[in-house]
Each structure stands twice: as structure tokens, then as C-alpha cells.
């Protein structure tokens, strides 16, 4: 479903990027990078109000002809960016939200691991498995 999933830290460096290998990964990296600007824009637009659960999900950041990019930001300004294929039967917003929720949960599990230093790349197998499960079916 998702073609590329990225976890970006607060300082806008990637903690985790994974794309389906069929495409040139560099393209996805670039898309994620450019989408960060949109994310920042949305975050600042939210204003002073404390973000709640609903606002964590930023929704469609921008669509291209082939792909759609969705964003999600946590309370600690860790961003999840997901690129999905447009040709997919349009994924419902709820599905995207649930995918982000799963991502968020897995991310917090990784954080809970005392052996994980915040700021390191995420190398958890559990996290990888979860991401893989969200990225299958692309062929």
C-alpha cells in the first residue's frame, strides 16, 4: 500500500526511511525531503493551540501525478511521512490514519527500548516488520 515510509526526527534528519525497492529510492527520498517543507508549514499554521490526537494527522501533504504524500507529526515533532501510490484504489483517509497510528505505536515501542538512543537510526526488527507489513502488495 505505502510505497515509502519515512520517520523524520525533530531536527529534520531521517531516523528511518524505507521504500519499496522497485523504484529508484532516491526519488522517494527527495519527495520525502520536499514534503518536510509542507509539514513545517502545516505545523506552523496550526498555531499555538496544543495539538491533539486529531491534529497529529496532517493529511494529504501534496499529490503528484503518481503519488500522494501523507504526513503525521507527533507531539515531539517527530514526523512520519508516507508516500502511497496514486494508482491504488484510493486509500480511504481512515486507512491512512490507522497506518499512521500503527507507525506511531511502533515508534513508541522503539523509544521504550532502553537500548535505543533517541536520535539513532531505528534498527528494530519489530519496527521493520511492521513497516514491511504496511508496504507489501507493491509489485
Amino acid at each position: 500500500m505505502a510505497v515509502c515510509i519515512a520517520v523524520i526526527a525533530k531536527e529534520n534528519y531521517p531516523l528511518y526511511i524505507r521504500s519499496t525497492p522497485m523504484e529508484n529510492e532516491l526519488k522517494f527520498h527527495y519527495m520525502v525531503h520536499t514534503s518536510l517543507d509542507v509539514v513545517d508549514e502545516k505545523i506552523s499554521a496550526m498555531g499555538k493551540a496544543l495539538v491533539d490526537q486529531r491534529e497529529l494527522y496532517l493529511g494529504l501533504l501534496y499529490p503528484t501525478e503518481d503519488y500522494k504524500v501523507y504526513g503525521y507529526v507527533t507531539n515531539s515533532k517527530v514526523k512520519f511521512v508516507m508516500v502511497v501510490d496514486s494508482s491504488n484504489t484510493a486509500l480511504r483517509d481512515n486507512e491512512i490514519r490507522s497506518m499512521f497510528r500503527k507507525l506511531h505505536n511502533s515508534y513508541t515501542d522503539v523509544m521504550c527500548n532502553p537500548f535505543y538512543n533517541p536520535g539513532d537510526r531505528i534498527q528494530s526488527r519489530v519496527f521493520d516488520n511492521m513497516v514491511t507489513s504496511m508496504m507489501i502488495q507493491v509489485c
Binding site: 505505536n105 515501542d109 523509544m111 532502553p114 535505543y116 534498527q123 516488520n129
Partner: protein, 764 residues
Amino acid sequence: MEGLTLSDAEQKYYSDLFSYCDIESTKKVVVNGRVLELFRAAQLPNDVVLQIMELCGATRLGYFGRSQFYIALKLVAVAQSGFPLRVESINTVKDLPLPRFVASKNEQESRHAASYSSDSENQGSYSGVIPPPPGRGQVKKGSISHDTVQPRASADQQEPASPIVSPQQSPPTSPHTWRKHNRHSSGGNSERPLAGPGPFWSPFGEAQSGSSAGDAVWSGHSPPPPQENWVSFADTPPTSSLLTMHPASVQDQTTVRTVASATTANEIRRQSSSYDDPWKITDEQRQYYINQFKTIQPDLNGFIPGSAAKEFFTKSKLPILELSHIWELSDFDKDGALTLDEFCAAFHLVVARKNGYDLPEKLPESLMPKLIDLEDAADVGDQPGEVGYSGSPAEAPPSKSPSMPSLNQTWPELNQSSEQWETFSERSSSSQTLTQFDSNIAPADPDTAIVHPVPIRMTPSKIHMQEMELKRTSSDHTNPTSPLLVKPSDLSEENKINSAVKFASGNTVADGYSSSDSFTSDPEQIGSNVTRQRSHSGTSPDNTAPPPPPPRPQPSHSRSSSLDMNRTFTVTTGQQQAGVVAQPPAVPPRPQPSQASGPVVHRPVDADGLMTHTSTSPQQIPEQPNFADFSQFEVLAASNVNEEQDNEAEKHAEVLPSKGTAPLAPPPKPVRRRLKSEDELRPDVDEHTQKTGVLAAVLASQPSIPRSVGKDKKAIQASIRRNKETNTVLARLNSELQQQLKDVLEERISLEVQLEQLRPFSHL
């Protein structure tokens, strides 16, 4: 390679031999040539010699370090005694005589041996430990560190047992590593040199000492577990932990030896059981893990925080990535802390990893908490820890929610885990008692995909709400007061009721409406409504922004109240305003919604609507004798605001007999007009006012009720009863009206038919 423990005599003998071979005086490495000569002198077949050399690691290293040399000598002794050459046999074989070397130069050594053996018999205890060959297998250095780091406790135990230790290790030839351990072992602990320094894991040995592995069991047993596993494991524990079994010293060095024996026994058993289940934790291992747990967290029911666990497991020298994976596997509830079971699982995984087992992708069943709980009844008291845990958000509380689903899923699996049941149920019950959440949402514990707790909607169906909201011309936010009103037992409620009354005086229908609701409810309903509304308003902010008024058993209330309100607006002058003001709060619940009530509903909604309605059915209204009677009510209401409800009942009774009068009789009209001067002024709203008058009259009896209720709970209940009575009255009224409506319709139809019949003739 496991550590080699030598008796005193052996130690001396071996060191002599070592120095003998150490022609280069390196004190560390023995020339291979000399060693080979020595071995040949041992009169062992060549292949045995080669095997010995391989076993002791010399072939791997390419040279004979002291440890290798010692091990080799031991193996020579083993071989000479006829035991099979195994790595473990250097420690397992009891009563091993010193190796005999028949070469001439060995004679003196044999003499030494003889002397040493005699000495050894006298002393009996041994402590010399040979450092394991460096770089041997996957060294479980953590285990090695066990003995050293945590020495104090075990040191005390071993103090009496190892007086020999110090002298053993004091020989000047002891390598530097030994000296280091001499310091450590100065406490009496026969601790083992670590091939690598670094934090030592606390008493691996000590824990083992706690185990009950009997020497007797051990000594006579020389199982052949997979050799490589054996070797690898042997390398890991500090040689101290694996002491050779010497008969004389058995009794003395109980702790140290049992440590070793236990360790090896564990290992052996583990490996033997590995054929069945590689992840099963044996009793000794469990006991050892528990002891380790205690060193970090004395309370067996408590938790080891993540940071402490990190330090602990870092000592094992496994790569951080693997430790991270082990953590992910073992932290079952994803709370960032380890319970005893989780700790045992993690420890076991580390042990396995150090011994070459690959980490599984998911936690093996035998390591899951449930099995662990079964074994140790002493840990059943986990509940307090759990309680405390759930009480205090340990690590990221939000992380708890993610793991909730996992917990939920594992619940069926944990049938046998009483301890876990307690913990989980503790968590779940705690959350359930706090708020009325959905049952499938797990407690505060790390669980769930950040499920937003959805409080159970206690308010009745939204139909009521919507109806009420429709009726409300301007449903304002005074509604929040309405839930608060529904608390007969609180003075605050009284205040709110008063305020509601005040609201009703000036404000919209809704206020009095809602407040009247409070009166109409049963005490139980009120209570339930209160709770429902509280939960509703408190926990479901995303519901209708203005919390709907208290749920009504019947939605007719809005109509009646709105009727009153309309009457208030249209009919009441200053005279009745006060009364009407008071009336809305006491509006009884409407009769059950029915189709007939539809028109009734519509009428009050809008005065205009009423007018149209009345205009459309002018015939029907006069046909309803009740209206006429109601006009009487109006009169009464107009005259006496505080009309008693009994009067209503009487008038209602009067209505009934009047039903028999000709429905078509216009007389009611003049009666109405006569009685209601106000109505003459507003003929358009005549029927409407009559309708309103009905209810107004009904309500008139209750104007004082709200006020009195505000003061007395009993009054409230009395008013509730009265409202109920009015409810029934109105219900009956409604049914009667509907019946009249049907009759009227029938008559109309018949009339039209007649008209039709007549008309054609008229044309003619």
C-alpha cells in the same frame, strides 16, 4: 573453554611444568616444542595428544598459553586415567591424578606430583582457576564477571571455603590477569579472571551457588553435550564458576563449586533439554536469574527500570543491536521496565545468544510470562508491583496504549498465569472502575494503539436530543446546567434548579424545559441520568456541543413544554407570566410519541404553524370537547396560577363525560370565547391557546412546585409523582384526542361522500 580449577597440588605441579616448558622465560607462552616433548612423555598416543592440544585451544591459538598448558596437562591426566577426552572432563572428572610424564625430566615432576597430591589431600580445597583461553568461542563474559563483580556476598560464603584461594593465586607466576583477580578474590571469592576486563556481571557464580545442584549429581556425571556448546559456555562463565570437582574440596567450597557445578549442570541440562525445547529455562537457571534480579531490584515483584537493565545487559558484551532486539522480545508489556519474568526471559535470551543460538524473531513460548509464573509461586505477589506500576506511569504512558492490544491478545494465552492475570486484571479493573470506558479498551498499561477511550454513552437515544433541540428555539448553553440539575440529592442541584427557574423566567424554552425534565424523572432515573449525563458531558466532549438536556423517558415533554412556552409567549400577560414561568420546569413528560402526537408536536413548534393547523382543521378542534374543557382549565389557570392538580383531574373527568356531547357542536366555541377574553383577541391562536391552555392548566398546578422542590427533596419527589400523574393524564388525553380525531375524520369522509352524491344532482 571452561575455566579450569585445579587443586592446590595440581596448581603447583602445573606451574612447575609450565615454567619448565617456559624455556624462554616468557611466563606466558610455552614453547611448543617443549610442550610436545612433555606430552609425548606422557605416553599418550599421538592422536590423543593432538586432541588434547586441540581441546585446550593451543591449535587455535598457535601457542601454549598458561591456561592452555594447564588445560592440556589436565587433559593428559584425564587421558591417562582412561576417561574420554572431553573439554568438560577436565572439570568433571573427580579424583584425577596428576598427569604422569614418564620422561626422565618428568620424574621430578612426578615427584612433585606426588608431593603435591599429598598436599592436596591435606588441604583439600582448591581454588585455582585458570583463565579461559582468550578469544574462545562466544565468551559469556558477563557470566565471568558475575563472580567478580558481585563478589561480596558470595565472598562471604566462600570465605571459609577458599582459604586456599589466595595462596593459589599468589604465586608470582600468575599472570597479570590473575593478579587482578587476586584483588578481587581477596575477598575470598575465587573469582575468575576475565579474558576481557569490563564490568563483570554480578554473581553469576553467586547465583549459581544458590542453586542446589548437588556435587554428587554433578561429579559422577559426565554427559556429552554438544562439545562446541559446552566449550563456548565454558568459556563464558568465569572459570571460577566452573570449578573442578575434587572430592576433598567438595565440602569446603560448596559455594564456588556449586556455582560451577550448577552452571555446568545448567548448561548441560539446558543443552540436553535443548533437544526438546531450546528456550526452556531450567530450575537452576531460573534460580540464578532470580538471584540476579534481586541484585538489581530486591523486590521480586518490582520492576527493573530500563536504564538499570540496560547497564546490566550491556555487561554481557553483546552488541547493542542484539540487546535491543532481546529487549524488544522480552519486554512483554512494552512498558520500558522488566518484571521478574521478563528479566528471566531476557537473561535467558542473552545466555542463548552468547552460546550461539540465534535470537528468535518472536518470543518463544517457553519464555513467555505465563510459564514463568507457573513455576514460581513466590512471585505471585506481583500484584502490588503491578498496582504501583499501573498507578505510576513508568515510562511513556502513551506507550502503554500500544501494547494494550497485544495484552488483549495474549490474555487468552495467559490462562495459567495467575500472576499475570492479577496484573492484567489489576490494570483492567483499575481503568474500568475509574471511568465507564468500553470494556475492550485496556487499562493504563502500555497497550492499545493509542485508543481514545470511548466512554459508554449513557444518555438515551439521540432522538430525544434531536427533538428537544428542534424544539428549542435557541438552545443555548444553559443546557450544561441541566445535567447538573438532575441531582436531587445535591444542594447544588437545588441552586441550579433555582437558577433554572430563573432561566426559565427570562429565557428560552430549553431552560425550563430541561429543568422540568429534572423533575419529571424518577429518582432512579435522575440518578442514572445524572451519571449518564456526567459521563456524557464529561467524557464525550465531541458529542453535541451543548449537552442535551437530561434524557427523558418520553419525548413528549418538549412538546408540552414548548406548548407552555408558546402559551407563555402568546397568551400570557404579566398575569400569568410568573406562573407560566414556573410551569415549564414542571412540565410532565409527554405521553409516548405516537403519530397522533405528531400534529400535537407540530403545533407548539411554531405559533404560526399552530395557526395554520388550526385553520386547516377548524372543524376538528371544536369537535374536541376536551378543548372546551381545557378552556375551563385555562380559566382556572388564568384565575389561579396555583391550581391544584386535583382540579385538573376533576376537570379532566369532566372532559370525559362531555365527550358524549355532539362533537360538532359549536357550543364549545362560544364557551371558549366567553371564557377566554384573551382568546377573542387572538382568534387565530384560539385553538392553539386552548391547547396550550390545557397544558398550561396542567402545569398551573405545578407552578409552585419548582420553588418548593428547590428546598426539599421530598417536595421534588412529590412533584415527580405529580408530574407522573399529569403524564398519565396527558397520555389519556392524547389517546382520547386521537380517538376523536379519527371519529372526526370518519365523519368528514362520510360527509364528503354525501356531498359527492348530492352534487351531481345539483348540477342537474
